[in-house]
Amino acid sequence: MNAIRLLLISTALALTAPGAIAEPFVVGFNRFHADAPSAEGGRLLFNELNCVRCHEGSTGLPERKGPQLSGIDKKFHREWVKQFLENPSETRVGTTMPSLIHGVPAADVDAILAYLASLKSPASKTKPPRHINSARGRDLFHSSGCVACHAPDPEFQPPEGIPKAAEFTYASIAFPEIPSKYSIISLVDFLKDPLKHRSDGRMPKFVAEDDDVVDVSGYLMRFEGSNGVAANSIEDWPQDAALAKRGEVLIREARCAACHELPKETAASVVPLSNMQKGCLALKPAIGIPEYNLSDQQRQSLELFLKKRPETPSDALVVSLSLEALNCTACHDRSGSGGPDAARKAYFGGDHNLGDTGRYPPPLTAVGRKLRPEWLEKVLSGDYRVRPYLHTKMPIFGKSTNGLASLLAKTDARAEKPLPGGDDSAGRKLLGTNGGIGCITCHRWGSQPALGIQALDLSNIGNRLTAEWLREYLINPAAYRPGTLMPSFWPNGTASNLQICGGNTDLQIASIYSFAKSANGEPEGFPQKSHGEFDLIPKDRPIVQRTFMEGVGSHAVLVGFPTGIHLAYDGKTGQPALAWEGKFFDAYNTWFSRFTPFEKPSGRVLGRWKLQDSATAPFRFEGYKLDKEGNPVFLLSHGQDKGFDRFEGIPNGFRRTLEWTSSSTTHPAPIHPEGAQVLEESSSQTGSRQFTYLWK
């Protein structure tokens, strides 16, 4: 049934392997340091290949840690793990796991696996998913930010078309092995919280609904069908205590505990760096030495770094390498470096009304002085999201971002002329539309939607931003974010509003900031919740108003009658559509909302006419006339014939007169409303029929 889709998916995943890259793939190195060997690139590699764990010292970068090995027998197929151990870089192209057991007999591999299977772990609570929608998972995978780091399916069509191959300027992190390594359940288990399985945050945690995780897992597993109960599970690994004992020895000798969390019997001691030529950096490392398959570029970078290793790196360097290590740069630009390339940008979805800022995550340029330190911690811990319109969600990197906020604050700090104290009431006025600059035209304020496009909530800027950065930004928003729709209301530092705070730029900005911080009310100009100000009340004459109305359509012509029963006429097909009693209509949205929702009648619906669609409706709508009393006469045509459909309000209903020009040869049969008593008056005759509709 899903064979075609399955074929597409498998082709796609096969293609995502980074081709010729046989060396360990460190995305930040590949993107930023692969052009020429450098000590900086070497520092990143020294950290990301986890050299630090065997050799002494620290790089200053977020710690790398191997995946959790206890419970591995419940997560992965044994056959895959076996192949991986025998030849890591061929089994998982680009892996940073070195080959440690090259040259050991196959029986020894079985012993290692037996030892791993003997490790105790709590049982997974994940149940087989009853419903999997891999096609939806594919959409989610491509639209939720996964493809910032991982390769998209080359067949997947993002909204603006498939990017050209040349637009991919750096390689993605591939995972072609997933279907042969995981089961659906174990992949769901992993994706729900990768940090539980790999605490180093290189695969961060996405806050996602369980259904989303299941569907993405289904896609990645190339799962066909919809019932996950039928999916393959992980077969039991054989248990063999004697073999496991032998495995423990091998694991200790191979020093696995340097990277992985393992029982203390297998602990690995520090290996001092002595003659690097003979260690891991040798072209062909000796048996017993980890073999990383390093490229020349990587080897030279590591050598350059080792020469500089005793030097303390600058904070700025640690920040930029940390962002590369965690691949923050996949989504974020910082001072012109990083951010998605043209190809990846195609997959970032969001609110197009906000332009680029509605789709792409914000830059990290100067973020250490932009965000208040407490807020930056909140962002990193995933507690708060201020850009709900971005389809990409900021993931959580766990312990690996500890200390990053304070380091960013230190790096980005600069001497600032502090803003003066603000005036809350001036700030409130500025933000609003009553004589202010109208920030709320585009920006949300807490739970209040903006009047126009729905840009960033401003109610929290006092807690979120530093006042000095706000000034820097507001004077020239495009300098910080090229392509932003945000205009400057203080171009070149000169206030465009001269009435408030005497046109003093610093005072105005400080006032906006302090009003937000005060959390004392909202700006002026939000529409009042309707309390009847815009209720149309027909008193002496009928009221006619066109609008979009549910059940009538986009061409609804509403007529409110003083007699209390009201009419909606379809101005597209020329037919009456709906009758209701009580309140006529609240015109607020039709008159003053930019977003023109489909409206409902204010009162109680009495009955509907069975509408014929425009293809079969016998009449053509030609407009309406209002007679002396203001009653509508809808103008119709039928070929050459002209019709006049007049409605007049009467107590409990309408009087309807349907007339045709005397030359008319056809008189389409009138349709009457459901639920009404229909009386044809005695004066009725061919070409001029009169009906009374009554609802009692």
Binding site: N434, T441, P482, G525, S554, W591, E622, G623
Partner: protein, 498 residues
């Protein structure tokens, strides 16, 4: 004495230049006093007119018909009277659905609302419309908020043009008929599609020759505000509504796929039906969102700009000026800043009999530098000729500038008085575009005419299809004044052969 003069200068220069063209003055006819704006809790229907102008036209008897967004038409008597007490507003029609254009036609007013073009007629002479007859139809209305319809405007052949916004947001159905297209209304009241590829074609206007133009807005597929010359079978920029080309009555069928993420000149080469805008209004430099066009035919009563188009702009609440010429049979030309400092986002422009310019505004829904919610203002020329670049014509080897007043020969022949760059845009589905492929043009000669009203600039590195941006900061008039605006932007679609 001197001290006072200095003080005055300091004070004057500290004021932001609101009306940046002192030869013109802006006067309020009615602007929202913010507390009584349409969003104020104090405002109620009937206690004031929310004059969010969507369309304007003159009646033969001198009344000004004002179509407002809430769906009403008001007639203003005494629009040109100096005394506010002589201005009288009377309601003419109500209940329309966000009308965004008005045109007086013989005995009645044509307005275009979201769903149709409607003819409003006062058949019993009581000053209030009693006939709302459908006069133009045939486009899909999905209910998407941005599914606006604009017009009508009359061209030299008497045809009535209407343009249709592409749908955006919920309910969007751009695959349905004619979103993003412009066309004329047939005698039987049907929309006859003529041109495709528009996004937010908010303003139409004919030039003195009677050719119809339209100003669109930057956004998806549209790098900056363009002004199109509308003629049958052309495609402009935005393909979001192109599906309608498959309809039987389409005047256009693209012969190649729509290119994407290419420099605009390459897009033109790749897609034969794509016609370039006659003029690009570079983003920010000439404002952001163009909204309307009005040709000046004031017989000198609006200063020295007869025959030129004035273009309204929303975000910066300002007006620009456009000079057009035909090169190789097609329109192209230059745009110049003209006047800023209006009260609200400008949406409609209309010249009056007396040569003044009526400016209709509303900034509900989008932000504008104007501080009021809506209103009607009027621009009058004070009678003094500003020192301006009146025209900028393309030459095979440069440009010819003509001025409103004689130039100072020394500054006009000094090559250091001028700077020129040229650039184009990236054609893609992204929202707007940076200027790309920017290159500097060297100006190698500047020759002043005998009457000192023209300067021919010999320019190296002209590139067809690129915008050429001129700054003539050093140029002085005979009297030593600088230009009112020293920047000009010429859209060099074609380099003239001679």
């Amino acid at each position: 004495m001197i001290r006072w003069a200095l003080l005055f200068i300091v004070f004057a220069s500290a004021l932001p230049a609101l009306a940046k063209n002192s030869a013109y003055e802006i006067a309020d006819i009615m602007t929202a006093d913010s507390p009584t704006a349409s969003r104020s809790k104090d405002w109620k229907p009937g206690s004031g007119i929310p004059l969010e102008v969507g369309g304007m036209d003159w009646l033969p008897d001198g009344r000004l018909a004002l179509v407002i967004r809430k769906g009403e038409v008001w007639m203003l008597e005494g629009a040109l009277a100096d005394s506010p007490s002589k201005r009288v507003f009377k309601q003419f029609a109500a209940g329309l659905h966000e009308p965004l254009g008005a045109l007086w036609d013989k005995d009645s007013l044509l307005v275009t609302q979201r769903t149709e073009m409607t003819r409003l007629r006062d058949s019993d002479g009581d000053g209030i419309a009693d006939e709302y007859s459908t006069a133009g139809r045939g486009w899909n209305v999905s209910g998407a908020y941005h599914g606006y319809a604009y017009g009508p405007k009359r061209d030299g052949k008497g045809q009535h043009w209407v343009t249709l916004n592409v749908d955006m947001g919920d309910h969007s159905a751009n695959e349905k008929p004619w979103r993003g297209w412009g066309g004329i209304i047939s005698e039987t009241g049907e929309f006859v599609p003529m041109v495709a590829g528009m996004r937010s074609p908010c303003g139409l206007g004919a030039n003195l020759e009677g050719d119809m133009f339209c100003v669109d807005q930057q956004g998806t597929w549209i790098p900056a505000t363009p002004i199109y010359h509308m003629r049958k079978g052309t495609f402009f920029l935005n393909p979001e509504g192109i599906a309608s080309q498959n309809r039987e009555d389409s005047p256009l069928k693209l012969s190649a796929p729509v290119p994407s993420k290419v420099a605009y000149p390459d897009a033109l080469r790749a897609l034969p039906e794509m016609r370039p805008p006659a003029v690009w209004l570079p983003y920010n430099k000439m404002g952001r969102s163009g909204t309307d066009l009005a040709v000046c035919n004031a017989g000198g009563k609006f200063g020295p700009f007869d025959g030129q188009l004035f273009v309204a702009e929303f975000t910066d609440a300002k007006i620009g000026r456009v000079f057009l010429e035909k090169v190789g049979g097609e329109y192209q030309g230059a745009t110049f800043p003209f006047l800023s400092g209006f009260a609200s986002g400008i949406v409609r422009l209309l010249f009056a009999q007396d040569g003044s310019l009526m400016v209709g505004m509303t900034s509900r829904g989008w932000s504008s530098l104007g501080t009021k919610s809506y209103g009607l203002q009027r621009v009058r020329w004070k009678g003094e000729v500003p020192f301006a670049i009146r025209e900028m014509r393309a030459l095979p080897d440069g440009f010819e500038l003509s001025f409103t007043r004689p130039v100072d020969v020394a500054s006009a022949t000094d090559l250091k008085s001028y700077r020129m760059t040229n650039y184009t845009y990236l054609y893609s589905s992204a929202y707007g575009s940076d200027e790309i492929e920017t290159a500097t043009n060297h100006i190698i000669a500047a020759v002043v005419s005998e009457d000192r009203l023209r300067t021919r600039l010999k320019v190296e590195g002209l590139r067809a299809s690129y915008v050429h941006e001129l700054h003539a900061d050093g140029l002085k008039s005979e009297a030593g004044e600088p230009l009112d605006h020293s920047d000009a932007y010429y859209t060099l679609n074609k380099i003239p052969l001679k």
